[in-house]
Amino acid sequence: MNLAMILDMAADGLGGRVAVGSLDGGITYEQLRQLARATARELARRQASTLALAEPQGPVVPAALFGAAWAGASYAPLNYRLPATTLEAAIDRLPSPALVAPAGIGGTPAEHWLADLRAGAATDPSTEGYPEDPTQPAVLLLTSGTSAAPKTAVLDHNNLLAYIFNTGEFASAGEDEALLLSVPPFHIAGVAAVLSATWAGRRVVPLPVFSAEAWLEVAAAEHITHAFVVPTMLARIVAVLDAPGAGPAPALRSLAYGGARMPAPVLERALELFPETGFANAYGLTETSSTIAVLGPEDHRVAHASAEPGVRARLASVGQPVPGVEVRIVDGEIHVRGEQVGGRYLDRNGRVDEEGWLATGDRGRTDDDGYLFVEGRLDDMIIRGGENISPAEIEDTLIRHPSVATAAVLGLPDLEWGERVAAAVVPAPGHVIDVDALAQWVREAIGSLKTPSVIEVRDELPATPTGKVLKRQLRDELGDRAPS
């Protein structure tokens, strides 16, 4: 099997439907298949075994993903926001790459590449097939890594197809359905979204540069029915909808989120602002071909409406494992096994043990009904005077204060206590944070043990593109200014 089969089947069954873009002016599944075949021919001509793409959005992205697969090559979407030297180092590690990138990095600019493909598709009507080599690397992703050096994760055709086959049904989307794609193509969620949408037959509307205003505008103009956002995006969308004079929230059927921990106050407000929308919390890793557990719409509404603490707590859960995936907790760490789990890297040893289990590095637990809770990274736990303190609860408490937009909590070295609790907070628009009043707010809510002894007000937090706060960097910065 080959990832190209997804597009091949969509073009066979739904060829005239718009695959990417607006209903007028977008490209159909049949046109996308022609672009993918032209991509494959160009890769063969260049004898490239990797297609590296540093491009925000547009039809060139799915054409590259499926075209590389069609050629039997690997697709390597790159973070176009990285500094040129970091990008060049990442490209140097890829096997025989063809590079599509803005001028200045050294590859073919996307508009030239796409124009050549269109010309090629128009003049060469050949309908060659794709190789059947399911253990070949299909997608190579530079993982963000909040605490370690970046690494290049390898997902093969089998890994990604297992995810698609186990979680979706072919051509299951109605012709009116459209997905607003606001995660970048170099993130696993961006890859999975294109594969899932093509398999379902759901039109993809890319939003190349996210702002809450643009997201709301496109959602209305394109009659968007489905969306995936990272928590920082949802926080901004909620803030705009809550501002005086804001219009109503778009009538989405499905709003999925993931990529980082969702602050409880943001989710609770979003559930109120989107009362008819089905929410899904998707938990997964780059190494697991995206989602391995989902908290679905029904669970969200039941938990939100419940007065019982155990049921209500499930709003913070990532739900149950998807079909084909096993999850277990080993010494407080989440381990995962299944066909969609890759766990291999281009540039270092794999992380899957001989029985197929991948240790995620995430702290977690399951409740009596099998709901999975992700509590943070293993190395994020603060240990103060022998007490384990999880940053998540403190972060949620800080964000509940009206003057705080977002917050990150971590441990700093402390001579007396081993570690002490430190927080970095970003003010909400139009607010000034009173640090003493904020500390008092936390103390009254969750006690003095969990109250930060250092609170620094900042304009923004260092974060990955999906909004995971770079705690190592933040720890260095806070530590420099507040020596123990």
Binding site: M5, D8, M9, D12, T167, S196, S254, G258, A282, S290
Partner: protein, 47 residues
């Protein structure tokens, strides 16, 4: 029985599942009996 594009058929005996990638006429059989059309188990959209 025609085999529809993208549908899955399952053997009642051995639980082998096949996915139809090119539609066509004929009957898919396994263990000497026609395979059953598998009913999709809808999952929430997660991406």
């Amino acid at each position: 029985m025609a085999n529809a594009l993208g549908k899955r058929y399952q053997c009642a005996v051995c639980e082998a599942t096949v996915l139809v990638t090119k539609p066509g006429e004929g009957t898919l059989t396994c263990h000497d009996q026609p395979m059953d059309l598998a009913q999709p188990k809808p999952l929430p959209s997660a991406d």
